[in-house]
C-alpha cells in the first residue's frame, strides 16, 4: 500500500480526528458500499433481507443498487448506506516496522562489516502448515518481485527446513546450527490453530533459554507486525513483503542487537 502523506492532521482540513467516518461524496456523509451474496433466490423477500442485514451491519438508510440472481438458490447484492459509527484516530497506536530500506549491497556491507561474519538464518513452515510459497519467496535464491531471496545474499547463511516442521524439530535445528534468526511462516487460520503454534514456538524458545540470542520473525498472508509483537516475536511480515525488506530488517536489528 502506498501512503501519500502519513500525517493525518494534514489529510483533510476541518476534519475531526476524534470522530472519523467513511467518506462518500461529502465530508461526514458516512456513505459506504457493501456487497454480499445470500443463500436465497433474488426477490422481494431477499431484497428486504439484504436491507435488514445492512442495518445490522451499522448502516442507516440502506439502499439496494444492484441485485442479481446467481441461480441454484443464491443471489448477489450491492447496497449503499450511511455508516452510524466513527473512530477516534488520535487514540490509535499501531506498531510498524521501523527499519530503513537498504539496497542489496548496503545490507551485505552492514552485516559483514559490523557483525564480521554471515548471519545464520533458519526458516520453516511449522505445525501442520504445508504452504511454503511465502517462505520460499523470501528465502530461496530466485526471490520474489524482482528481488533476490536471502540465499543470494553473501551476508546470510540460510537453512530452509521446508514445510510441516514441528516446533520441537525447529528448536533442535536452531540449537544444532547456532542460528542467529528464525523465520517461521504460517498461513494463519480463523480457527487460531496457527496462532497457537506461533505462541508455543515463542514459549519454547523462552523455555530453552535462547530468547535473548535469537531474532524471531514470522510471516504469512494474515500476519501483521502488531500480531507478531503480541505473540512475542520481534517482527511480523504480511502479504506483499519482499525479501529485501526482511533482509534490511535482519541486518539493522542484528547490528542493534550486537550493541
Amino acid at each position: 500500500m502506498t501512503t501519500r502523506d502519513d500525517s493525518p492532521a494534514r489529510a483533510v482540513s476541518g476534519l475531526d480526528l476524534h470522530a472519523v467516518g467513511p467518506y462518500g461524496d461529502t465530508l461526514g456523509d458516512g456513505i459506504v458500499q457493501v456487497s454480499f451474496s445470500l443463500p436465497v433466490p433474488a426477490g422481494p423477500e431477499a431484497r428486504e433481507a439484504a436491507r435488514r442485514l445492512a442495518v445490522q451491519m451499522g448502516l442507516n438508510e440502506p439502499q439496494v443498487y444492484h441485485e442479481a440472481d446467481l441461480g441454484y438458490g443464491f443471489s448477489f447484492w450491492i447496497l449503499y448506506g450511511k455508516c452510524r459509527h466513527h473512530v477516534d484516530v488520535t487514540r490509535i497506536v499501531v506498531p510498524k516496522i521501523d527499519t530503513a530500506p537498504l539496497s542489496f549491497e548496503e545490507i551485505n556491507a552492514l552485516v559483514l562489516e559490523k557483525a564480521g561474519r554471515r548471519l545464520r538464518i533458519v526458516g520453516a513452515c511449522t505445525g501442520t502448515d504445508a504452504h511454503t510459497v511465502g517462505i520460499d519467496a523470501i528465502l530461496n535464491m530466485k526471490g520474489f518481485a524482482g528481488e533476490y531471496g536471502l540465499e543470494r545474499y553473501p551476508a546470510f547463511e540460510v537453512i530452509n527446513l521446508g514445510s510441516q516442521v514441528s516446533n520441537a524439530t525447529l528448536l533442535s535445528k536452531v540449537r544444532e546450527t547456532g542460528a542467529d534468526a528464525v523465520l517461521v511462516s504460517q498461513v494463519v487460520t480463523q480457527k487460531d490453530v496457527h496462532l497457537s503454534n506461533l505462541a508455543e514456538w515463542v514459549d519454547m524458545v523462552e523455555a530453552d533459554g535462547l530468547r535473548q540470542d535469537l531474532l524471531l520473525l514470522c510471516g504469512g498472508p494474515r500476519i501483521t507486525h502488531e500480531v507478531a509483537l503480541e505473540l512475542g516475536f520481534d517482527a511480523g511480515f504480511g502479504a506483499g513483503t519482499t525479501p529485501r525488506q526482511v533482509a534490511a530488517w535482519l541486518a539493522q536489528k542484528w547490528v542493534q542487537h550486537l550493541r
Binding site: R91, P95, S172, L195, S196, D203, M204, G209, L229
Partner: protein, 341 residues
C-alpha cells in the same frame, strides 16, 4: 481479605494470569483482580507479555475489555502506548528496554482510566519491569500472558498463577471442561520428591546439557541428547533419572522411552518447559514418570461463559464442570458484560 478474592493468598507477590486460549478472559480476570484488591493493595502493579488493553481484538476486530487502573496503581508499558489509554500516567522509571513504541517505562497512575499494556515480549523484559516495580515499593504485581503463552507462569518469574478459561474453548460445556483439564494437567506436573534430583537438575543447567544417572546408585553424567552414546548406555542398562534443562517436546520423550530398558524418571525445571501433547504425555506416563523440580502454584481458575466467537454457555453448569476437573482449586466466574463498549 479481598471482597471478591477470598481465595487469594497473601504471600504471593507476583501473580501471573495465563489463558487456556486466546480470548479466554484474561483481561476480564485482570480487571476483576485489580478491582478486587480494594484498599488492601491500593497501588498494585500490572504489565503484559504481549499486548493488552487494546480497544479491539487484533484478529477478530471485536471490542475487547480495556485494562482499567485506579489512581496510585503502577503500570509497565512502552512510553508510546501511554497515549492510547485514558489514564494519566507519570513515568517513574525506564527499565532500559527499547521497543517500537518507545522505551519500556514503569509509571504511576495519577488519574484513573484505561491503559494499553505493550512492548514487553520476553521474560527478561518482565524481570526488568518487576525489579523496577519492587524498587518503587509496589506490593503486588499482575502479569498478563498473551494468547495461551505460559512464560509468565514460570516460578522464577511469578509466585502464583491464575488460569483463565472460558466458552471460547468449545461450543459445549464438556468440550470446555476437557480442554481446561488438559491445560491444568500440563500445569500441575508433580514435584520430584527425591532429594538428589535437584542436584541433577543443577548439573544439567550448569552444563546446559541433559544430565542423567542410572538408578539406583549411578553417578551423574551429562550428554548432548538421548542418542549420545553415554545416554544410550545408561538408558539401555535399566532404570534411570534424566534432567533436562530446557524445553521438552514430544520427540525428546519419545526418543528417551524408545531407548530405555527400564523405567525413566524425567525431570523438567518447571511445567512451563513441557510442550508435550496430551497423547504423548499419557503414553509416556504409562511406563515412566514425569516430574518437575519447581511446580507452579496455581491460585485458582476463572471462567468466562461468553465466547467472543458468538456463543454463551450457561454460567453455573459451566463453573460446576470446571470445578469438577479443577481438583479442589478455587473456581470463580466474574460478572461482566460480554461485549463492553
Amino acid at each position: 481479605m479481598h471482597a471478591t478474592l477470598p481465595w487469594m493468598p497473601q504471600d504471593v507477590f507476583v501473580i501471573a494470569v495465563v489463558g487456556c486460549s486466546k480470548n479466554a478472559g484474561k483481561t476480564t480476570t485482570l480487571n476483576a483482580l485489580l478491582a478486587g484488591f480494594g484498599d488492601d493493595v491500593p497501588n498494585p502493579g500490572v504489565l503484559s507479555i504481549g499486548i493488552d488493553g487494546e480497544e479491539v481484538d487484533f484478529w477478530l476486530g471485536v471490542p475487547k475489555p480495556r485494562v482499567e487502573v485506579r489512581q496510585g496503581a503502577f503500570v509497565a508499558t512502552a512510553e508510546g502506548a501511554l497515549a492510547a489509554g485514558t489514564a494519566l500516567v507519570e513515568i517513574c522509571e525506564r527499565t532500559g528496554g527499547r521497543t517500537l513504541l518507545g522505551d519500556l517505562v514503569v509509571g504511576r497512575v495519577t488519574a484513573p482510566g484505561s491503559v494499553l499494556l505493550a512492548g514487553i515480549r520476553s521474560k527478561d523484559d518482565v524481570r526488568a519491569a518487576i525489579a523496577a516495580m519492587k524498587r518503587l515499593g509496589v506490593p503486588r504485581i499482575l502479569v498478563d500472558g498473551a494468547y495461551q503463552r505460559l512464560a509468565a507462569a514460570d516460578p522464577e518469574v511469578s509466585d502464583g498463577t491464575i488460569l483463565a478459561t472460558g466458552a471460547v474453548l468449545g461450543t459445549t460445556i464438556d468440550q470446555v471442561a476437557l480442554r481446561t483439564l488438559e491445560f491444568l494437567q500440563r500445569l500441575r506436573v508433580p514435584r520430584s520428591e527425591f532429594a538428589d534430583d535437584g542436584a541433577l537438575m543443577d548439573a544439567a543447567r550448569r552444563d546446559n546439557r541433559l544430565a542423567m544417572r542410572a538408578l539406583p546408585a549411578g553417578g551423574i553424567v551429562t550428554a548432548d541428547g538421548p542418542t549420545d552414546p553415554v545416554a544410550v548406555q545408561i538408558l539401555g542398562s535399566g532404570d534411570a533419572v534424566i534432567a533436562i534443562p530446557g524445553a521438552i517436546g514430544d520427540d525428546l520423550v519419545r526418543q528417551c522411552a524408545a531407548l530405555s530398558a527400564g523405567r525413566i524418571r524425567l525431570l523438567a525445571r518447571d511445567p512451563t518447559r513441557l510442550f508435550l501433547t496430551p497423547q504423548e504425555a499419557t503414553a509416556f506416563r504409562k511406563r515412566h514418570d514425569l516430574r518437575v523440580i519447581q511446580p507452579i502454584r496455581i491460585l485458582g481458575v476463572t471462567v468466562n461463559p461468553f465466547s467472543v466467537l458468538g456463543w454463551t454457555l450457561p454460567r453455573e453448569p459451566l463453573v460446576a464442570a470446571i470445578r469438577a476437573v479443577a481438583d479442589g482449586l478455587p473456581v470463580v466466574s466474574f460478572d461482566v458484560h460480554p461485549h463492553p463498549t
